[in-house]
Symmetry: C2
Subunit: 639 residues, 2 copies
Amino acid sequence: MTSRSPRKLQPVPLPRARITGGFWGQRMEANRTATIPAVYEHLKKTGRIDAFKLRWRPGMPDKPHVFWDSDVAKWVEAAAYSLIAHPEPGLRRRVDHVAKLIADAQQPDGYLNTHFTVVEPERRWTNLRDAHELYCAGHIIEAAVAHHLATQKPMLLDAARRYADYIGCVFGRGKGELRGYPGHEEVELALVKLYRATGEERYLRLSEYFVNERGCRPHYFDREAKERGEAPESYRAGTYDYCQAHLPVREQKTAEGHAVRAMYLYCAMADLAAETGDRTLLAACKRLWRNVSERRMYVTGGVGSSSHGERFTCDYDLPNEAAYAETCAAIGLVFWAHRMLQLTANGRYADVMERALYNGVLSGVSLDGKRFFYTNPLALHPQSARFGQPHVRAQRADWFGCACCPPNIARLIASLPQYVWSEGRDAVHVHLFAEGTAEAQVGDQTVAISQATDYPWDGKIRIGVHPERAAKFTLAVRVPAWCRNAQFTINGEAVPLEPLVASGYARIKRLWHPNDALALDLPMPVEQVHAHPKVRSCAGRVALQRGPVLYCLEEADNGCDLSDVVLPADAPLRATHEPDLLGGVAIVSGRARRRRRGRGGPLYSREGLGTAAVPVRAVPYYAWANRRPGEMLVWIREG
Amino acid sequence: MTSRSPRKLQPVPLPRARITGGFWGQRMEANRTATIPAVYEHLKKTGRIDAFKLRWRPGMPDKPHVFWDSDVAKWVEAAAYSLIAHPEPGLRRRVDHVAKLIADAQQPDGYLNTHFTVVEPERRWTNLRDAHELYCAGHIIEAAVAHHLATQKPMLLDAARRYADYIGCVFGRGKGELRGYPGHEEVELALVKLYRATGEERYLRLSEYFVNERGCRPHYFDREAKERGEAPESYRAGTYDYCQAHLPVREQKTAEGHAVRAMYLYCAMADLAAETGDRTLLAACKRLWRNVSERRMYVTGGVGSSSHGERFTCDYDLPNEAAYAETCAAIGLVFWAHRMLQLTANGRYADVMERALYNGVLSGVSLDGKRFFYTNPLALHPQSARFGQPHVRAQRADWFGCACCPPNIARLIASLPQYVWSEGRDAVHVHLFAEGTAEAQVGDQTVAISQATDYPWDGKIRIGVHPERAAKFTLAVRVPAWCRNAQFTINGEAVPLEPLVASGYARIKRLWHPNDALALDLPMPVEQVHAHPKVRSCAGRVALQRGPVLYCLEEADNGCDLSDVVLPADAPLRATHEPDLLGGVAIVSGRARRRRRGRGGPLYSREGLGTAAVPVRAVPYYAWANRRPGEMLVWIREG
């Protein structure tokens, strides 16, 4: 169970990282007490869990769908992470029960898939392009690794190994093997996890095979379609860029196609670059990263702007009302950013990770943890939304037929502590600011790191450093790109920060003693953010941001017709903490102008209308749609 | 062949109205020499014309689709109108040949529909909701009336009468009759045309039955679905407002559902109000008109903003890039406006008719007459459009699988002279300005009216009035709502206009002599048009209009990133005639500002960029996409 990773950093793993309160403590508590139970109830009610009993026969209800297994597996993964910090016996029994159901559904040859065992057994591995078979396999592997981490029980991990071994016999470049790879990536990153959990290099090689084979000619999906008797041109998604199979991965320069698939592929590419030291893969990852983060990402960290194919489109094409920005895609961006961060120790990845976490991910779940957005638009008009894309909703739903997002957000939030700190040979990194503690391995000793903070509402963070004994190492503390004039003290003494900061981290190399105390102060004025001139949906508009938190206007605070609100460029904007609003948030308020409206009036006229000053009040974007339904707007007109 | 219509005005019919040159002369010439032949070729090539031979059998190609008949019928109608002004023998033979094919396809009982005769004979009248059967019937009737008007041959008109008589036996409130009505309106207005052409009141009554029965409970479409063994709730469009069958028509207060269907229904309601004097129908029409023209119409005269159902959505919901604004819907708005105008003699209807004609209708066809837009967005980004609604295109296409628009625009343009003038008991109306002549019936004499003008490029119109002998009557000349400070002379003498103008017309009642000459001067400065504050897609933006012509920016003239162009509110804007550009147009030019762009740069930043002055150049909206593909923008940021 060792890893020979050459990556610079490794996350402090969940058993040694803990969030104990504050903003994320509150979110993790809602996740544990509301989201995880709610997702389980829906999985149970819709037949997804019982599908593993393999009792479905033609004519019966609840026919297992091709991606049901993944929903259950993601729940197991979420619940397992939760058990690490909160070993609740009831949840543990439930997780073990579901894990056993999954393991018991494994076929004698190692195959493990409910749909293709009971519904279409004759079609096993005949449609990798569309049928989500290897995608489900990947989620079962991830669940198994998490279950083993949380419980040390080998049952599900053994099943996952047998399944991976079987997959390894089916696919590859050997004689009699299928030269295929999944239409929906996921198994690739899962196999790297399995390799790390077991030390078995064959899983790493299998992942490498899938990634390297992708997009090669002659095209496997062409061949496979013909074998099914279908014309390759009849592919519903049109072209293979939909599933990032239009080119070999190292030749891909722009993020294309279905955004969740893209994120999972890029995660696997980063994982392989980390494990194998493959510089060509790392270079491809960095190119794709620049394309996403500099041209194809919402200010929320959402990605995949089009509802037609849940996909990336073209540079700077980021419509606000029509935004798709699937919750799972923002989650995938966090996964990818986290991996790039471990590879490079560069704060640019942590900045995007934080942007997505506080905004485009968190908007996916209600404050009470029980309702979910699949899409995350940056503007909404509820009456109009009724006539638009069926996925765009004015309110979160408690479940979806295609239910990828709820268990995905559950597993991310349950595992959040591992995103906060990293350890390395001679450094501890603090990436995110959250009330909690980590026990980092630095060289041969354990360094306990504590954080106390009211972040993101306040920029003051107290970091306690507790090596077992005095030791020289680097404490690298992130200085977010959004921050100007950060201040630092060590044991009460101000430290000039400028010379210490490189690649987004203040890197403090010194002899650290037990109980050393570091105080970080990140000033958090309200900022007006501008988008690149090529982003036509944001031309003449600004977004309000304070610290990592993006704001929006809601009808509940500002009345309707939000697009008519104009914020003067020099408008003084004030942040106020409101402990009783939306679970406790800082709101932003100021004065804007809007046109004087009468009732009715002409639809078009030569005369403009005069404007009047009005108060405006913005709330954090992630907390929108937790009150009565109404308009919402992120990008406010400036003038 | 008489009409007892109580409507105030009647169009001067095609045989007595002629456009001889100028703007519309050029468009009619392209329609005659390019559009009508091109549409015929496509109808022929795709099997739509030969479908009337009824030779299709299962397994053969070119299976007649449920709405194919309407495409052919609209072409016959267009070609017939064209023959009135240009009796080309070749076209006449072709029209007669197609008319005979249609007539010969009539079944012994009078039924006439290719699809339900050869493809699904057992399903006749089983799915009025979706199957376009009565819609096709309506178009065949309209074609027959036009064919008879142009050729005086009774062949097709007789077939249409037999079909209408048969339909009258099938539908109604009598014993054994079906209480149904069409899911796609059209037959209602066609039956009024047939009544007017034949004087047979039963066609008027049948139209009245269809209109009055619509939306009544118990709902016919529920009953019909159940009889097909389908759940009414499985209706693809969701709710009956899609086809304006959610309420009885007199209770409908807002324009709902599929925009073309709505327009055709409202036309029939106006026709029936005109023929029967039914004030409740007129009141419903006026309410719906206010809703459309004051809340649900693009500045182009386009209607039906959503591609999901090609439909109306909610008040002030007029997205620009995502605009559907089907060409046929703008054409339908012209049909309806024209009818409301005859009913009321109120210029507000002529204003909308003119707005749609010069903008949202005409954009539907290329300058060469051979290519067509189905949808008419008000902004376009060609790279982005590739990923959006399949209907949104950066360039016109030469045909569509669902080919309603090309023959619809052909029949409207071929019949345009009848939209220019109206006659009444004691008045002649000039609604539109176009080079041409009409012979209007006023009381018991014929008054020839001539127009000479370079409208819409120039606001000077010379109107010649030529009664057979001196006579007292009213000449009512429209003073468009877009015009301020119109000037008038009669026989060279200035006439104070103000006291003469009522409801959008200068009504000049006097003793007119042969060769009286009237000169109208409509000043045409470039105007910046604002939308109502509730139109969120246009907030902070202006559209440029000069006379009736709406302008847009194209990439060909202004480079890319058009949304970054900011037009100062006081920017001097100049119109220049460019005879060699886009078939000869006035362009609008001035100076605007845009941000200084480097390559790349951050996607989001706190710093705004400085702006620089740039020239801008706008071209008429209708003429967009006649050069190389590129961005287009109607609503320009103001600042």
